[in-house]
Amino acid sequence: MSNPMLEIENLHVEFETEDESVQAVDGISFEIHPGEVYGIVGESGSGKSVTALSIMALLDSNANVTADRVRFDGTDLLSKTDSEMRSIRGGEISMIFQDPMNSLNPVITVGEQIAEVVRHHGDVNESTNLVQEMRRKYVTGTSADSASWRRAVELLETVGIPDPETRAQEYPHQLSGGMRQRVMIAQALAGDPSLILADEPTTALDVSIEAQILNQLLDLRDEFGVSVLLITHDLGVVRETCDRVAVMYAGELMEKAAVEELFEDPQHPYTRGLMQSIPRLTDDREMLDVIEGSVPNLAAKPPGCPFQDRCAWAFEACTQPLEEHEVDPGHDVACHLHREDIPEELGEWNSPTAVRTDGGDDR
């Protein structure tokens, strides 16, 4: 097996506030292989975006990031200095955010914004000193003959923007939401990355545009062999796009598996609950099955499994620290139900007919 592109081991992210500390990410481990689309799926507040930001070292100074290992393509990212990280960010690792309107500069043309990344991370021989950049950005604009501009136009074409020469001279507000997201992808590609972190890249888009963008991401993976970490709350997007997936809950990874396996044979009560709470086109349920309750307060998580308060199958052992059980090769589940010594009456939990919800609504 090839060396992983990204290896994360026991990653913790803690935010210090005035009177408490919040464990946003609590000891997660996973790795992404070259050319793989790896999904992290979870609800809001589960820590999935913080995970991506901590890999990029983009968190504020009140965040305390610790890990046994964060390795990218064999090199340790934790020991990098700020300036070393700056050359990796946007270069070998790039990121796509959910809301392109907030991440693109509104007063600079999109072509300019992409060309700048090309100059900093690509192999064009153009000066990147501050005065030059400011002049290009605010006074003259990048010359349409320069290599960086031509590359920017080329990238816009790669991501499927029609009439890229004209579009490159437009400002973000002149583009539609789908177009802006494509510009973000073009920008992410400008540094010729081997890993793209995509944080909810299609959440703000309509389904038809979402399909276009996800297809685009997969095409790029096929064409350039980049690895993608896809962060989303949408299980449908995961099933369609990812090769392997991790389910995140309250800062911890509850289940990791190949995509097919996760959907065909989920082994964690939380994963099952999530899947059953989604209305589907093919079902005729009168009422949806609901996970009762709400996520625990991350500043005061109960010891043991974070899902215990909402889990229909919780038992005494659930207050003990979680450990991962490998139920199948490549399929890890952090749940005490997979221990050898679970109480007899819980033995049926894994049968297909096992139901322990009242199917009621919300109380």
Partner: protein
């Protein structure tokens, strides 16, 4: 157009109710917004309009849920706001419970508000941050003379329990609640005065899936308890399918297909509906890893295509008639183009037969199925304007 209405009505009602009037009925409803235009242009009469809702006919029965789906910018939110009279319609009429409510005095409008309520997508921006939940829920009771003083407090406590919150939450402020809880407060406010119709605009889109399921189940339970009708506006087809009795598909200010939900989901006839259905990410089956993506983006509602609104993107474009002639909603059943879909046409269930009340607006309905299913549309760039 008018001949259509009689066909739309007898729908979900039981035998005794079939003759009953629909709760709400809109005819040729239009809502245009003025674009920003310079003075000279205006004097020259070049004022442009965004045609957000462009001639919609619909009816909603008592205790019925009508889902409205479409992409952003299709006019579904404007439709909801016009139906609830938050916007003044530009043209057309709205009847509510047999009365014309198109033009109302502000006093009449206030009375109407006690019967039509609205739930918004973002509960935080629709709840006053400076008022406690008790004040937010108590105000409508006072305004509509339902309860004051102790009775009001009791009713507020009851309402909070009804939506799964604690009576003690009445003294808290909106920011102290999670997104799901805030939406519960929004719903409690809407049901507080026991309206007949609730227009819910993307009520669960901002919520996490597990919370979404809680809210949807709650809305279904409340509907039965309070005999509510819902207009449920959403972009998520799975959610709409789950909650609705009837579904309308909107595109560029027009309804392009409508009918009982079974008809829409088992026998979608409009190419846009089919495209939407096949572009939903699914967790049910092994996908082919690629969804069929609809090409392009919707045209501007300032200058919509003169023919079929979907003609600029349609994967089944026929020819000039699509660009030139605006198709009207027509009954799907027995139309030559609606039948004989070969098995490899995705989304259509072969043995399903559409009822009379299933309507679509597409030129294909009049053509033969053989021709339809073997047709290859010209590329988007090669279509006449």
């Amino acid at each position: 157009m008018n001949s259509l209405e009689s066909e739309i009505e007898p729908e979900t009602g039981t035998e005794t109710e079939t003759a009953a009037e629909p709760l709400l009925k809109a005819t040729d409803l239009q809502k245009y917004f003025e674009t920003e235009t310079g003075l000279t242009e205006r004097i020259l009469g070049n004022q442009q309009y965004v045609k957000a809702v462009d001639g919609v006919d619909l009816s909603i029965d008592r205790q019925e849920t009508v889902g409205v789906v479409g992409e952003s910018g299709c006019g579904k939110t404007t439709l909801g706001r016009t139906l609830s009279k938050l916007y003044e319609p530009t043209g057309g009429t709205i009847e509510f419970d047999g009365e014309d409510i198109t033009d109302l005095s502000s006093k009449e409008l206030r009375e109407l508000r006690s019967r039509i309520q609205v739930i918004f997508q973002d509960p935080l921006s629709s709840l006053n941050p400076r008022k406690t939940v008790g004040e937010i829920l108590g105000k409508p009771l006072e305004i509509h003379d339902i309860a004051t003083g102790e009775a009001k407090r009791e009713r507020v406590a009851e309402l909070l329990e009804e939506v799964g919150l604690q009576p003690s939450h009445a003294s808290r402020y909106p920011h102290e609640f999670s997104g799901g809880q805030r939406q519960r407060i929004g719903i409690a406010r809407a049901i507080s005065i026991e309206p007949d119709l609730i227009i819910a605009d993307e009520p669960v889109s901002a919520l996490d899936v597990s919370v979404q399921a809680q809210i949807i189940n709650m809305m279904k339970r409340l509907q039965r308890k309070y005999d509510l009708s819902y207009v449920f506006i959403a972009h998520d087809l799975s959610v709409v399918k789950h909650i609705s009795d009837r579904v309308m598909v909107m595109y560029l200010g027009n309804i392009v297909e409508q009918g009982p939900k079974d008809a829409i989901f088992n026998n979608p006839q409009h190419p846009y509906t089919r495209a939407l259905l096949s572009s939903i990410p699914t967790i049910d089956e092994t996908p082919e890893k690629r969804r069929t993506a609809l090409q392009g983006t919707p045209p501007s509602p300032i200058d919509p295509p003169s023919g079929c609104p979907f003609s600029t993107r349609c994967p089944e474009y026929i020819g000039p008639e699509c660009s030139d002639e605006h198709p009207e909603l027509e009954t799907v059943a027995d139309k030559p183009g609606s039948i004989d879909a070969p098995e490899d046409v995705p989304t259509i269930l072969e043995e399903y037969e559409s009822p009379e009340s299933h309507h679509a607006a597409c030129h294909w309905l009049e053509r033969s199925g053989d021709e339809r299913w073997s047709h290859e549309a010209p590329a988007i760039g090669e279509r006449g304007e």
